[in-house]
């Protein structure tokens, strides 16, 4: 069946060079976390630390006794947030793509439009709303407003537009109602896009900085990003700690990515695969 192939060599050259471009800054950041401050800012672009040290990690792990607590907080918020998001976003995306209801197109346009409003301007009104609801300095302040994400609702809508209708029709013939169809058939079949969404939503919660900064005041409720931010002082950025901190904070994401890996390349392959 393979009549003509991509010119393989060229392909691998492209792949490897792009991988190098991608890897370099990342590796630099990881290795920098093992360098003393003076070596980082000296402008040397050598990757390998001349005087490797674990002092940066030692500092961030021991500087504040609340450190493990922050990790737990971040995990809790990101996990709950991701589960809620994946369900709500997928439902909304499905509805916008597949179910006809009055005003649907206006609603879709509205969702597009609100994504376009620059966030800086919404900080203060949102803060006032949080205060009125009495959820300042609670996990709810971070989870509830973030329980949906317009970008991923939009993404799911785009995915469901091409979704084969026959599958749903078959399910309905089998006597499943709309909700059962969604839960048992549609949701599992959209694995690739749901997994993609989940990783980025988790990443978003995990790295969220501005919201915890404004809404959380008690140190025992800090998220990891907020806790790590406190290594930065007013006059100078302690790059060595920042680098170590960012390495610590990406480890869970890499684990999640690897866990979800098998779903990424496993969507619906109707027809030819059987």
């Amino acid at each position: 069946m393979k009549k003509r192939k991509w010119p393989r060599v060229l392909l691998y050259v492209i792949l490897v060079s792009y991988a190098l471009i991608t890897m370099y800054p990342f590796l630099w950041a990881v290795l920098a976390s093992f360098k003393p401050y003076s070596e980082i800012v000296a402008g040397g672009l050598t990757l390998w630390p001349e005087n490797p040290t674990l002092a940066n990690y030692q500092h961030i792990f021991t500087n504040d006794p609340l450190f493990p607590r922050w990790i737990m907080n971040s995990f809790f918020i990101a996990t709950v947030g991701t589960i809620v998001n994946v369900i709500f976003n997928t439902m909304a995306g499905y509805s916008l793509a597949r179910l006809r209801f009055p005003g649907r197109n206006y609603l879709f346009l509205l969702i597009l439009a609100v994504m376009m409003v620059p966030g800086q301007i919404l900080l203060i009104p949102n803060y006032l709303i949080m205060r009125s609801l009495g959820i300042l300095d609670t996990y709810a302040a971070l989870i509830v407003p973030g329980a949906i994400n317009f970008a991923y609702i939009f993404l799911m809508r785009q995915f469901f537009i091409n979704f084969p209708r026959e599958v749903e029709e078959a399910a309905q013939v089998d006597g499943l109602n709309r909700f059962q169809t969604f839960w048992r058939i549609v949701f599992p079949m959209a694995k690739a896009s749901v997994a993609t969404q989940a990783v980025f939503v988790f990443l978003g919660f995990w790295n969220e900085f501005l919201k915890p900064l404004l809404y959380i005041t008690s140190p025992e409720k800090y998220t990891l990003t907020l806790g790590l931010q406190s290594f930065q002082s007013q006059n100078a950025t302690q790059w060595n700690y920042i680098m170590a901190a960012s390495v610590v904070s990406i480890i869970p994401i890499i684990i999640l990515y690897i866990l979800l890996n098998k779903y990424f390349m496993q969507g619906l392959r109707i027809g030819g695969d059987k």
Partner: protein
């Protein structure tokens, strides 16, 4: 532009968003008997400093609680400007908080800072012990909106090893700005490649005293940006020339975030920076041997910038009396000593500077000396706009895209237009 208050209905619409407005009480609420305040709790808003500062601050709080029986909760800001403003709008701001002198006029104009004059008077506070430029930075309209907790000034740092290996001694570094370029040119000849003679951050916060050295202020009395008067241009031109001759560079040119890192990494032999760089370099670049001097004089006059931060009282606070007690204690001789000794900062009280013998401290002495003559980084509520445009356009003059005069004229024009339309 009709100046009318909004109708009630519109306010109702946004009533979900707003809680109560503040009640204005102009009376200073000094407790007649301080023991009444025992057991009260106040919140103090700070930003994160060095490890030494954090430790010293905790000691200060403990000493204060012991002295007065008032408990203090800390609120640490990571992004001061955004967080404080959000807190102030939301009514969740601390009772006492740090105010950068730079922001003081804008904040006091908005009515969020409690004037402290009456409190100070009733408490018999000795205000004359404060360094004059520092306390004056918090005065607007003849009212006092904060008491300085410490201050920083600019000074000249030199790398002993680089200077000596180039065949000079620290005494060769000129004390007059007029002779500095020639010295830097000589130095450049002798320095290893990849090391620039001098490094400095190019922004108005560092240059204001230079621009004003001829007697023309960067913001006029009628609140206009003034950046392109002949005396200002003449004062600034040597810097532009030196930059173009590669005698002076900016940290970003070398790939660093700020001058302290370029100097610490030994990419520059001399820098003009604030005294906060001392602890930064000692901590992060222990091998660098540095020395400090006062900023060279301009036209025979000493000059430097002063950056200062106050404790100010939230005008919306429910615990003003207790808040004042804290401010009073932290700026008293006892409190000031705990803070400045522990944190290694310059005390805003002259008596404490003397007591700690800072004028004899090898590295800090030039910065202490500057406390007497430095220009405070504060110039009314238009300064943030003027600084923004100056910082935006100066690089164009440095790189030679524009002449200095063109750039400054443009900055002045843009700033004035903005001041006119945006500030009432």
């Amino acid at each position: 532009m009709n100046k009318k208050r909004l109708s009630l209905s519109v306010l109702m619409l946004s009533s979900l968003i707003f809680a109560a407005a503040c009640g204005g009480n102009d009376e200073a609420q000094v407790a007649s008997d301080p023991s009444e305040l025992e057991g009260k709790e106040i919140t103090v808003g700070t930003w994160k400093g060095t490890d030494a500062e954090v430790k010293a601050f905790d000691e200060l709080l403990a000493a204060f609680t012991e002295e007065t029986g008032i408990n203090v909760k800390k609120k640490v800001y990571n992004d001061y400007q955004t967080q404080l403003q959000t807190d102030l709008v939301g009514g969740t701001a601390p009772d006492v908080f740090y105010v950068d002198a730079f922001l003081a006029p804008e904040l006091s104009k908005q009515g969020v800072l409690e004037p402290l004059d009456q409190y100070a008077e009733q408490a018999d506070k000795d205000l004359s012990d404060f360094y004059e430029p520092a306390i004056n930075a918090f005065k607007s309209d003849d009212q006092l909106f904060g008491l300085p907790k410490d201050y920083s000034t600019l000074g000249l740092y030199y790398n002993k090893r680089l200077i000596e290996e180039a065949g000079f001694t620290p005494d060769d570094i000129p004390t007059e700005m007029e002779q500095l370029p020639a010295f830097l040119a000589d130095l450049k000849e002798q320095l290893p490649s990849g090391v620039v003679p001098a490094i400095t951050t190019s922004e108005l916060a560092r240059h204001m005293f230079v621009l004003q050295s001829g007697g023309t202020d960067v913001v006029s009395d009628d609140r206009k940006a003034v950046l392109s008067q002949p005396d200002q241009l003449a004062a600034l031109q040597p810097l532009v020339d030196a930059y173009q001759d590669k005698l002076v560079q900016r940290p970003a040119d070398l790939g660093q975030g700020w001058a302290g890192d370029s100097f610490g990494a030994e990419r520059a032999a001399i820098m003009i920076e604030g005294n906060w760089a001392i602890s930064h370099i000692e901590q992060n670049f222990p091998d660098v041997e540095m020395g400090t001097k006062e900023v060279p004089t301009i036209g025979g006059n000493s000059g430097s910038m002063m950056f200062t931060v106050s404790y100010s009282l939230n005008s919306d606070s429910d615990e003003k009396a207790a808040g004042w007690e804290f401010i009073n204690y932290a700026t008293s001789q006892d409190g000031m000593k705990i803070w400045s000794e522990g944190a290694g900062v310059l005390p805003s009280l002259k008596s404490i500077a003397e007591e700690l013998n800072l004028q004899d401290d090898e590295l800090k002495a030039p910065f202490v000396a500057a406390g007497a003559y430095a220009t405070p980084w504060q110039k009314g509520d238009a300064l943030s706009i003027v600084a923004r445009e100056y910082n935006n356009l100066l690089p164009a003059a440095l790189t030679g895209d524009m002449t200095l005069e063109e750039a400054m004229k443009r900055a002045e024009e843009a700033a004035n237009k903005d001041i006119e339309t945006q500030l009432q």
